[in-house]
């Protein structure tokens, strides 16, 4: 799986998980308890997609969240979800861009 290996090269990325949309784990890089993380990101993307459907916002591309010390991003890559956890949270934007670009290349 190229995308998690790519983002895991970044020192700011402390861990990455790839799952299917149902929350089944596919790949884990430097992340403890990858199976539970996969389940969480699967449910999160499903719930946010549901909200987007209600609001007429179209297909979900990415969900990111930040806190005082760290942040995370979940990107939709076809039938898969790619999550990366980032420290410090200020680096999240650059990781989002890298993820989006990597997914776009993969889907092209």
């Amino acid at each position: 799986m190229l995308v998690p290996q790519l983002i895991a090269k970044l020192p700011e990325v402390k861990g990455a998980v790839v799952s299917d949309r149902a929350g089944g784990v596919i790949d884990v890089v430097r992340q403890k308890d990858g199976e539970s993380v996969a389940a969480v990101i699967g449910f999160l993307s499903s719930t946010v997609s549901e909200a987007g459907d209600h609001l007429g916002l179209g297909a979900l591309h990415m969900v990111s969240f930040t806190g005082p010390a760290r942040g995370g991003v979940v990107a939709v890559a076809g039938a898969q979800l790619v999550a990366a956890f980032v420290e410090p949270p200020g680096s999240l934007a650059s990781v989002e861009k890298l993820l989006a670009a990597a997914i776009a290349r993969k889907e092209a």
């Binding site: 969480v40 990101i41 609001l55 007429g56 179209g58 591309h61 995370g72």
Partner: protein, 252 residues
């Protein structure tokens, strides 16, 4: 709180600003006609589930951003880091200026925190759509109404006599669309919501333009509902989607 949310709604691209509490109950909102109270109540519950899910991964979350093909959802934690409390949600289309929105949401967050400190954390109060007076919001029979929703009053003579404005302002500065009575306003909201399932947030603009075509010289009324639905259906390219829209709007 309404003034703070209205400030967010005035940002270009913002369709609604919502505050919900830790139980997912809608506390207050301001929104364009397409985002009426029943929809905001429903979405508040869904977004609260999303927030609870993020908490599993990051208990001290401060903000959540969801990017969609046709817009964005921006959530801001109004409680102290790690604590459960109110959440601000901003719904925007693709024209949102992210830099302006970040600043505006930060300002609104500070104001909302101060406003919330003055009221119980679990209080659910009536919000208002920008277009329709409080307590007169159009209903939507297809959605499960939350505990705070207001049924459409059967006696609507006061509004019917003067004609109400369905839309106070539009995202692209179009003129107001007048309606003959509350039932007509409710139908337009329903049209916008159903059409949005197929064309996205631009649905409201399509509805406004269609109303002006089918009822150019008089407030919109249900008498021209069939023509309006036909006009809207012509905006949907996919035949299956078009049929679904026609079915959803077959009973004005």
């Amino acid at each position: 709180m309404e003034g703070i949310l209205q400030g967010l709604l005035d940002l270009s691209g913002v369709g609604a600003a919502i505050v919900f509490d830790a139980t997912g109950q809608l506390v207050d909102y301001r929104g364009r006609a397409i985002y009426d109270r029943p929809l905001c109540e429903q979405v508040s519950g869904t977004l609260n589930r999303a927030v609870d899910t993020v908490r599993l991964q990051q208990e001290d979350w401060e903000s959540i951003t969801a990017q969609f093909a046709d817009g964005k959802l921006l959530l801001q934690n109004l409680a102290a880091p790690g604590a459960r409390g109110h959440v601000l949600a901003v719904i925007a289309d693709a024209t949102l200026n992210a830099s302006f929105a970040t600043v505006a949401i930060r300002v609104a967050t500070n104001k909302l925190r101060r406003a919330i400190e003055g009221r119980p954390a679990d209080s659910a109060v009536a919000g208002s759509a920008a277009e329709v007076p409080a307590g007169r919001q159009p209903g939507n029979g297809s959605r499960a109404a939350g505990s705070g929703s207001q049924p459409l009053p059967s006696d609507s003579a006061a509004l019917a006599s003067s004609g109400v404005s369905w839309s106070k302002s539009s995202a692209v500065g179009l003129s107001r669309v007048a309606v003959a009575n509350p039932a007509s306003a409710a139908f337009l909201s329903r049209c916008a919501k159903q059409l949005a399932r197929h064309v996205g947030p631009i649905a409201k603009i399509y509805v406004e333009e269609a109303v002006r075509r089918v009822s150019p010289d008089a407030p919109f009324s249900l008498a021209v509902a069939t023509q309006l639905v036909d006009e809207l259906a012509s905006q949907v390219e996919d035949s299956a989607d078009r049929a679904e829209l026609l079915k959803a709007l077959e009973n004005p």
